[in-house]
Symmetry: C2
Subunit: 268 residues, 2 copies
């Protein structure tokens, strides 16, 4: 495997761009091949079997681009499909759950950690499982916030409606006096100001996108897979709505996205 | 084609059950074969090409059940795929747009009609096109309400947040003094009380689900396709989350749904 090959990154849609953004910031020489499954978004309400099927199709597609590693930049797909995909491939496969969980375990002072995510991620109970493996004494409180991703897609990031919905979702976690809160869906970092406002200044927000990029860098170094020179421009593929995706990507990425290419993912 | 064959009905998910419900009420002897594309829901934000591809796969599946007619119980799919599907099949294919539009044109007194729907339906401009074909003097005001379907799926039908969001979306239409409002997404009839409250008692809500069922009955009669005796129980198929679908269906349908069967729609 060439160290100058690209890193494959995928998500159900645009959310994983928050992970791609951190990868770009922390490893500016690497090339990213991003796939957003915009034809089948969202993943959060879908079953494990369906998410594994979709993830397999996407990794098959990314392998045609000769990627040296794959980052599953989606909490739902990381919850449901990471183990399966990792077993099936010989290159490193990195999910977004564990890096965020480890940081949360290190950050908390009172041992009470909150997790917010999609219905799929929360129902899987994966954060509680991983966190109590790290430290059985941690108390983990999980809460699904299904409308958060929709609010991000509507662009209502700092809105009074968003604050009211956030208060309703987060009230329960405040009652449990969590001092660390994991943003367990890749859309949520875009709501971090509203979430911080509602939770108050004493709660530390953990952004798995940042931690995942850090972990990816470590994995590449350990495997001698970090690139040796400046790589060419990143590439973006989607299963639908390439123009809309491109516009959104250009609002949040540090690089200019000149093209997002539509592909038929069901062929893989 | 046998008159005692079932009627095929499809939607992106559960929304089309509001249409199935009206079909059951108005034609209690008919059998319905329903397909909800829960693995790929929602359709409202996807492109025309993708919606045509999905609709073709679904009609192929329904034809394996020997349906005598197909009702596209989804505004987005009716906007984008009705003409294509109708051309490709020899059985009657009915969409939800035209029946609602005709009723709105008959209902309005001041000639000002409001349309609410998904981004896909509104961007297509199909309601304005059909309504001005019926009567070029009608003034049509369209407004996408992307969060409405999410609020229905969250179950917040009469919620203060839902009222605030409805006020924000509908304020513009109130400014245009519409006296008829078409609920142009199959989820919206479940929000009709909130929408009526915000719009006030002088605005007539048009429910395309009701009008589509009436029109379907007429089409079957015209073609000698109405069933001649009580047919067996309805059948339900989905592309994901069969148990969740079944639970939702049982809350809104007049019949008991004993089973919803998962199928792999991408094989069709």
């Amino acid at each position: 495997m060439s160290r100058n090959a690209p890193i494959g990154v995928f998500d159900s849609g645009v959310g994983g761009l928050t992970v791609a953004r951190e990868l770009m910031r922390q490893m500016p020489m690497e090339q990213i091949v991003y796939f957003g499954d915009t034809a089948r978004v969202p993943y959060g309400s879908k079953s494990k079997e369906t998410i594994i099927l979709f993830s397999r199709q996407i990794t098959k597609f990314l392998l045609t681009k000769d990627v040296k590693a794959i980052v599953i930049a989606c909490n739902t797909a990381s919850s449901f499909a990471l183990d399966t995909i990792r077993e099936e491939l010989s290159i490193p496969v990195i999910g977004v759950i564990k890096p965020g969980a480890i940081t949360a375990a290190q950050t908390t002072k009172n041992g009470r950690i909150g997790i917010i995510g999609t219905q799929g991620t929360i129902n899987s109970g994966i954060y509680t499982r991983i966190l109590t493996e790290i430290n059985p004494e941690l108390q983990v409180y999980e809460k699904a916030c299904p409308l958060f991703a929709n609010l991000v897609e509507e662009g209502w990031l700092y809105d009074s409606v968003t604050i009211e919905i956030a208060e309703r979702y987060l009230n329960e976690l405040q009652g449990y006096e969590v001092d660390s809160l994991v943003l367990g869906c890749t859309h949520y970092p875009l709501l971090r100001h509203t979430i911080q406002k509602v939770m108050g200044p004493d709660v530390t927000l953990v952004n798995p996108a940042f931690e995942t990029a850090k972990h990816t860098k470590d994995v590449l170094l350990e495997n001698g897979l970090e690139c040796s020179e400046q790589m060419p421009a990143h590439k973006f593929y989607v299963s639908d709505g390439a123009e809309k995706f491109k516009a959104f990507a250009n609002t949040i990425l540090p690089c200019e996205v000149e093209e997002a290419k539509g592909i038929d993912i069901e062929q893989y």
